[in-house]
């Protein structure tokens, strides 16, 4: 092995990498918020009595869950060009990640709502609470408890998946690493440091989620 490891270029680029990591977090948080909101709507849609919302949300969920996320990013980045729609890499990545997250979270929410028996709704309605009050004070808090852990997992997945933005030209953490790699050809060194950054981010997010969950659920089991 006559390869000389050179770490200096990586450490010189560290401020840029940290900035790029912030972009990674930004993309992930935005995608997660959009994905969660649409996922909640889709889970209602899948339980709807009407044909149209039920079919549309089923199609969305199955497409999101049965195609690779990289394919979804490519689809939004290149696939729409034939219609003259050119999304920027940022928009394409956020759209694809939201699309994907919505599909997965819809199933998680569905499981969460199924876990709560229908008699609770009937009981609280007969006690004089309105539909929305029941959702707000009885159903949602219990659903949140069930979906909280899968939700934090999904968020870490989104952070990891956002690395694919590199292949659509987004300069988030991985894209920035690739950019420095192509200027210095220190592939191993750069990607090793980036791997460490991702690991730290994932751990920090997990610890924060645990603490938050502990606070929200008053020390109860998450």
């Amino acid at each position: 092995m006559d390869y000389q490891f050179l770490w200096r270029p990586v450490f010189k680029a560290l401020p840029e990498l940290v900035d790029a990591a912030l972009l990674t977090m930004e993309v992930s948080i935005i995608s997660m918020i959009i994905g969660l909101s649409i996922g909640l709507l889709l889970s209602f849609g899948r339980r709807s009595k009407h044909f149209v919302p039920r079919t549309l949300s089923t199609i969305w969920v199955e497409l999101a869950r049965n195609t690779p996320v990289l394919f979804q990013i490519f689809f939004f980045y290149w696939g729409l060009g034939e219609f003259g729609i050119f999304l920027s890499s940022y928009v394409a990545v956020v759209t694809a990640l939201s699309f994907n997250t919505a599909g997965y979270m819809a199933e998680t929410f569905r499981g969460g709502f199924n876990a709560i028996s229908n008699t609770q709704m009937q009981a609280s309605r007969s006690l004089g609470m309105s539909f929305l009050q029941t959702q707000r004070y009885i159903i949602i808090p219990q659903v949140l408890r069930v979906v909280y852990y899968p939700m934090t997992n999904q968020f870490i997945w989104v952070i990891l998946m956002s690395s694919l933005g590199m292949l659509a030209g987004l300069r988030e953490l991985t894209g920035e690493t690739m950019y420095f790699n192509s200027r210095t050809f220190r592939t191993f060194e750069f990607f090793a440091v980036t791997a460490v950054i991702y690991y730290i981010i994932a751990k920090l997010v997990m610890i924060a989620a645990r603490l938050l969950g502990w606070k929200i659920f008053k020390g109860g089991k998450i």
């Binding site: 092995m1 390869y3 199955e62 497409l63 869950r65 049965n66 195609t67 690779p68 996320v69 990289l70 394919f71 490519f74 689809f75 290149w78 696939g79 729409l80 060009g81 034939e82 219609f83 870490i156 990891l160 998946m161 690395s163 694919l164 590199m166 292949l167 991985t174 592939t187 191993f188 990607f191 090793a192 980036t194 791997a195 991702y198 690991y199 994932a202 751990k203």
Partner: protein, 220 residues
């Protein structure tokens, strides 16, 4: 270049064949990785469920790395590492190795859950009937545990099938990379992307539905 001066070609039937071959390569690399990863993952899962505290801590923190670093970075790192170390290998093999380890990291959690899903009293009963440790594993833990976690294993396999698309980043010509090549050649990106999406969907959806069916059947 055709007489009209157009450098791009139209989408032809041959291109469909090209995509089909690439889809077969996607299935190949996924099948090998899922198989190898499952074998390793079950062993690791057994260590996680039955090992002492040091083994558990060691295996768990090791596998945690593979679950906390994006797959694409693992691929690029491994690919560049084997070149540095002086064993350059074809993209298929470096891709298979990384995907297998990644699969193993996911399957280990599934396998551990499977072993822990078996009621300890059931195992004590088996042992007190005179079964050895491995007999208990083979005739009690395996059949009961596999029923508990088979759906999760299907889920892991499907995600590996989909994640095999990332191997395109280190130059393996699988389905997604084939679509990129056709995109550049024909500029009919929408049709091609629809087609490729359909290919992936047709590979993944039947397996996921079959998994649901088996899960329901076993629950009866």
């Amino acid at each position: 270049m055709d007489p009209a001066g157009n450098a791009f070609t139209d989408l032809r039937w041959v291109d469909l064949l090209f995509l089909g071959e690439a889809a077969i390569r996607t299935i190949q690399i996924s099948a090998v990785s899922i198989f190898v990863g499952t074998v390793i993952g079950v062993i690791l899962g057994w260590m996680l469920a039955s090992g002492n505290i040091f083994v558990r801590l060691l295996v768990n923190s090791l596998l945690d790395v593979f679950r906390s670093v994006p797959l694409i970075i693992q691929l690029i790192l491994f690919d560049s590492f084997v070149s540095i170390a002086g064993f350059p290998m074809p993209a298929f093999w470096s891709g298979t190795i990384v995907l297998s380890v990644y699969t193993a990291a996911l399957v280990a959690m599934v396998a551990r859950a499977g072993i822990e899903a078996v009621d300890p009293n059931l195992r004590r009963a088996a042992r007190s009937l005179g079964m050895g440790y491995w007999q208990d594993m083979r005739y009690i833990v395996w059949p009961v545990g596999i029923r508990a976690v088979f759906p999760s294993w299907i889920g892991v396999s499907l995600s590996v099938l989909k994640d095999s698309a990332l191997v395109s980043a280190i130059g393996y010509l699988e389905l997604l990379r084939a679509s990129q090549i056709l995109n550049t050649k024909t500029q009919e990106s929408f049709k091609i992307m629809l087609l490729v999406g359909l290919f992936y969907f047709l590979m993944s959806y039947p397996i996921s539905k079959a998994g649901d069916y088996i899960e329901k059947k076993w629950q009866q």
